[in-house]
Symmetry: C2
Subunit: 295 residues, 2 copies
């Protein structure tokens, strides 16, 4: 097993950094060597107004953050630092306020109301618009960060200033999936990391065009980080080492991972879409409507 890449290959200045990653896009997205992920210990409970970058830098200082590392930060602590806290009795109203468009709903397993799958104001399709009550103060719920890509960019810049290292920052959240049981972590904020690796125009080892078009590497990195952060251990930050080839100071944010509107073949739940078609026929409307879907 080779040791992780030497940080000496990088300088904090963007010019040299760009040279290092040049040519990576279009090639394979794989790491050249082993990739390691670990959780950062000693992150204290985060309070509204806390300087999250300072807290993280203090905690990781000991673990020696290297140039080219990727920091994966659970969205919950970003929300807490940003004061995105709402009293629990206002939960349903908060979900509605965070919702751009309803996608599907069904009775909750515990019989208390509906699980609402929505497209939230970030374009993310998820349950309850990402409003969550676990790992929050009693009587409160947390909204997702106001602008996770901006939060990631601020953290990346703050880490560069404090520790003198150029890292990538991902903000992760736990999302359900269509067609598959269970939840996985995915990227809702990103800075300095390529969220997607474009294989178009690429070929396999035999020269044939690849069927895969884009690898959602930022989601894969967040999934990896979840395996060391967990859900209930008070470990909201992980460091990933060995993926420095995916760093790119000009990379777009995690918004690039969101598929919305007509591009989304599953923009409405099946029951809701059947009801919509039924209604159109009953109301004498045409099958194909140019109206946006909003059940």
């Amino acid at each position: 097993m080779r040791s992780p890449r030497s940080p000496q290959r990088y300088t904090a200045g963007s010019t040299v950094f760009c040279v290092t990653i040049a040519g990576a896009q279009g090639r394979d997205h794989r790491a050249a060597g082993p990739v390691t992920v670990w959780a950062v210990p000693k992150i204290p409970q985060v309070q509204p107004g806390d300087d999250l970058t300072a807290l993280i830098c203090t905690a990781v200082g000991e673990a020696e953050l290297h140039h080219g590392d990727i920091l994966v930060v659970t969205s919950k602590i970003v929300s807490k630092a940003e004061g995105r806290i709402v009293q629990a009795e206002n939960r349903e109203a908060a979900i509605t306020a965070e919702t751009l468009r309803a996608v599907a709903s069904r009775p909750r397993a515990d019989g208390e109301g509906l699980t609402r799958i929505v497209e939230n104001r970030l374009g993310i399709v998820c349950a309850a618009a990402g409003v969550d009550a676990s790992n929050t103060a009693p009587g409160t719920v947390l909204l997702l960060p106001q602008d996770p890509d901006a939060s990631a960019a601020a953290m990346r810049s703050g880490i560069r200033q404090r520790l003198g290292v150029e890292v990538g920052v991902l903000i992760s959240d736990t999302l359900g999936r269509a067609w598959r049981v269970g939840q996985t972590d995915a990227a809702i904020g990103s800075s300095g990391v390529r969220p997607l690796h474009d294989h178009r125009g690429g070929s396999d080892s035999a020269g044939r065009a690849l069927a895969v078009t884009e690898s959602a590497v930022a989601d894969e990195i967040c999934a990896m980080a979840d395996l060391v952060k967990g859900k209930s251990s008070g470990l909201p930050v992980a460091v990933v080492r060995g993926l420095d080839h995916l760093l790119d100071p000009e990379a777009p944010g995690a918004r690039a991972l969101v598929r919305t509107g007509d591009q989304d073949m599953f923009r409405l739940g099946t029951d809701e879409a059947i009801a919509e078609g039924f209604r159109r026929a009953q109301d004498g409307e045409p099958l194909h409507s140019s109206e946006p879907l909003n059940p």
Copy 2:
């Protein structure tokens, strides 16, 4: 950074192994220490009839596979070893044969026919039933393995016999997602690894019930492995070290990750479901039908 766990904690016998993992379920799913993943070099091109376990054991022998490691094997080489090869001109017929139920379709970006999203005979919802032409011999396409859970179990058993180590085996494929751009790797076959970690009944660090119900850890492990295997580098196998707490000789296969039928709120594409509702109204059928959906 702590070094990976010592393999001495395990014995190959299932009894001692069970004792080691007892109590893990219900707790957090996170690893106790760092997790490392690397690609196995020197896997030769796989041919129909090859003994894949023998090939992998020869290749990883040098890398010292440890008790508690998880091997992630790209489904493509499993398919090749099983001879699941079809002439390219029969591709559409092969997709139909592998399809249980159509879910959605739309014109392909290259203008050549339709992209068909289907539920395949394994219950997996994916494009073209998983039939793929990249990384295959010219003029041929590959079907998914006949029974990926059984293939994983055979490999796990073969590795125990050849190398004397108890590992987990995951078989991965690259899948698109609803609502998100790009593809990620997920588990389509599993043996000896818990595919889902059940958090129900669990609580956060403050004692509040967790909103997450089940973590799809096998999918997260496959996503992690994709970051070192890539798509075009001839590296179809990865080793993950540090997740031995997720090993469980009694674990169900990856079939447990598949959500089908009424449980799936997105069992039909939006356009297809609207058309179905429209048809029901026009034909004088009730809105809610007990018929299985098959556009």
